[in-house]
Amino acid sequence: MRFRLTDDQRALRQGVRDLLARRFDRDALRAAVERPALDRALWRELGAAGFFALRLPETEGGVGLGLPEAVLAFEEAGRALLPGPLVATHLAAGRVPGAAEGETVVTTVDAGGLVEWLAAADVVDERGGEGGAAGGNGDAAGAVALRSVDPLTPLHRVPRRSRRTASEPVAVLLTAAEQLGTATRACELAVQHARAREQFGQPIGAFQAVKHLCAELLVRVEVARAAVYAAAVTADPADVAAARLLADEAAVRGARDCLQVYGGMGFTWEADVHLLLKRAWVRTRRAGGGTESEELLARELLSGAGR
């Protein structure tokens, strides 16, 4: 058993991190907040780097890697707060022409009827990655725009949508990977601030009340990381459900605690903390929300499988 990153996996993660540091740094993030539009050039660059075609076989023009590598890439996207329907486009690669290359932006109607980035997307994928033919725009007919809580996730709602029975586990897992990345960012920001900000003549990170918030941030991140990476290896739906619940908690509570460490600055638009929290909130609503994952795990627990 070697449950740790291989050298290749470390290199892949570093590659995605470097690309995003170059193309979507903090200045780009803040600029996007003021003018929320999908950066098509960046999207194509991601396509060229293999972000969307990562799991497609090489015979189909893909990179031929697996779920663990996809999870690492999506974790980095979550850490950078990269906007756009990344999961839907990744899942459409190989089925929707242009998705793999980043030429076509694909979104999907979620289980609850929410659609992210509808106006910017070229295609609404009816099957949400469950296989089969590419959908058309008809699926989102009658969609009404919401005033989205997250400035970098425009949202529409499709009325009277019947709920699907279960969500695609890969979509759930890649969302969990994004949450993990955002939780990691929240921990990094909180620690940086706790080291730099001085009150009562010393860094606030020297005070246990603040220090312990930071420690709990890291504990949640590391527990979620173990769950997300393991689910990427097993692809077991119950492991995916567990990963999702822990990653949601790590991201949402992590952003909340980061905000608390930031104090008054955390309540401002200027600080990035609210962007972490709002994106984390949006992701918790995907794929039926946490309830679907909880019920799946409850059934699994009762059946005694996987023990």
Partner: protein, 376 residues
């Protein structure tokens, strides 16, 4: 990232399973929890059985993955817990192995492995808990002996132990971490008084140990005089490694039992209770994966590091939540000490305190992993 086991590891697992299937039915009946001499005999007997079968080494010499498999399989099979051998196998033994002289290793390690001698731990004192380095039990040199006076607390198995790994202050003028020495004290030496300490669960799991001019040969000192703090830290890092593997396996089994009990008594239909159990299932799945992660890291890097603090923080709270959930499943029966899980719920209350409180663990995580400034 690979969660599959090698052919060698699977072979070890298969042989262990087969052996457990034969060895466990041959065990004598379990002694009652209050029968300390009986527990000593039982626990030492199990250790001897492991030794004779060639498994006694796994706590020390085996690579971490082999140890993980051993702890997982023995727990699944319902094998006896390490019990009275805990300090010897997991604290004192590894310390002597790492820091002792050849003569000390020859004297003390084999009897631990063969299940012949029981060790207890004399670290904490009434006024030195989280601040362990503030300990005040004094030791003076007198010829070839140290003369030790003071008191220790939270000492498990003191009544039935042969040896005590003891921390004493040998230089009261030095900074508090620099005047401490590690001694192996024979528990039959004159001047030792053991007084059982009843826990909130009603049992006498711990004892207070009073030391009145107890003579300990200088030859029983492990490491240099006044270097005991560093020697101790080697011990504690072992405790935060794979110490909870069996317990996580057991907690996952309890969770399944709770679900079936809730289904039987109708409480499963309450979505709040059901989803609460599902969240715990997520939690313990993740803790198992974190264990595998830490073990893989330890295999690659040697001594387990501060990752153990991250694990212990989350696990100790999850264990308490597990038994609180058990109380929700039981309803009024949660007040009946004869029902399953009720005593476990009481015992679980020690987990956020023993072996470094959650507050101390958070300090460790924040200062040593996150690099935040020291301070209280």
């Amino acid at each position: 990232m690979d969660l599959s086991y090698t052919a060698e590891e699977e072979d070890f697992r298969a042989r262990l399973r087969e052996w457990l299937g034969k060895a466990l039915p041959a065990l004598p009946p379990k002694p009652s929890p209050d029968d300390w001499p009986g527990r000593r005999v039982y626990d030492l007997g199990w250790q001897r059985t492991l030794y004779d079968a060639g498994y006694a080494y796994v706590h020390w010499d085996a690579d971490p993955t082999t140890r993980l498999i051993f702890l997982e399989e023995t727990e699944r099979a319902g094998a006896p817990y390490v019990g009275a051998n805990f300090v010897g196998l997991l604290h004192a033994g590894p310390t002597i192995a790492a820091e002792g002289t050849d003569a000390q290793r020859a004297r003390w390690l084999e009897p631990i492995l063969r299940g012949e001698e029981v060790w207890c731990q004399g670290f904490s004192e009434p006024d030195a808990g989280s601040d362990l380095a503030a300990l005040r039990t004094r030791a003076w040199r007198d010829g070839d002996d140290y003369v030790v006076s003071g008191s220790k607390i939270w000492t498990s198995h003191a009544e039935v132990a042969d040896w005590c790994e003891l921390l004493v202050r040998t230089d009261p003028t030095a900074a508090k971490h620099r005047g401490i020495t590690w001694l192996a004290m024979p528990m039959d030496a004159p001047g030792i008084t053991v007084r059982p300490l009843r826990t909130l669960a009603g049992s006498a799991e711990f004892a207070e140990v009073f030391l009145d001019e107890v003579r300990v040969p200088v030859a029983h000192r492990v490491g240099a005089e006044n270097d005991g703090w560093r020697v101790t830290m080697v011990t504690l890092s072992f405790e935060r490694g794979t110490a909870f593997v069996g317990e996580v396996v057991a907690c996952r089994r309890v969770l399944g039992e709770l679900a079936r009990e809730a289904r039987a008594n109708g409480r499963w239909d309450d979505p709040v209770l059901r989803r609460g159990l599902a969240l715990l299932e997520a939690e313990f799945r993740a803790l198992w994966r974190l264990t595998q992660w830490n073990v893989s890291e330890a295999s690659a890097g040697g001594v387990p590091g501060v990752g153990g603090s991250v694990f212990k923080l989350r696990y100790s709270h999850a264990r308490q939540e597990l038994y609180d959930a058990a109380a929700d499943v039981l309803g009024d029966a949660a007040l009946d000490l004869d029902r399953p899980w009720v005593l476990d719920r009481l015992s679980s209350l020690s987990y956020t305190i023993a072996a470094g409180t959650s507050q101390i663990q958070r300090d460790i995580v924040a200062e040593r992993i996150l690099g935040l400034p020291k301070g209280r």
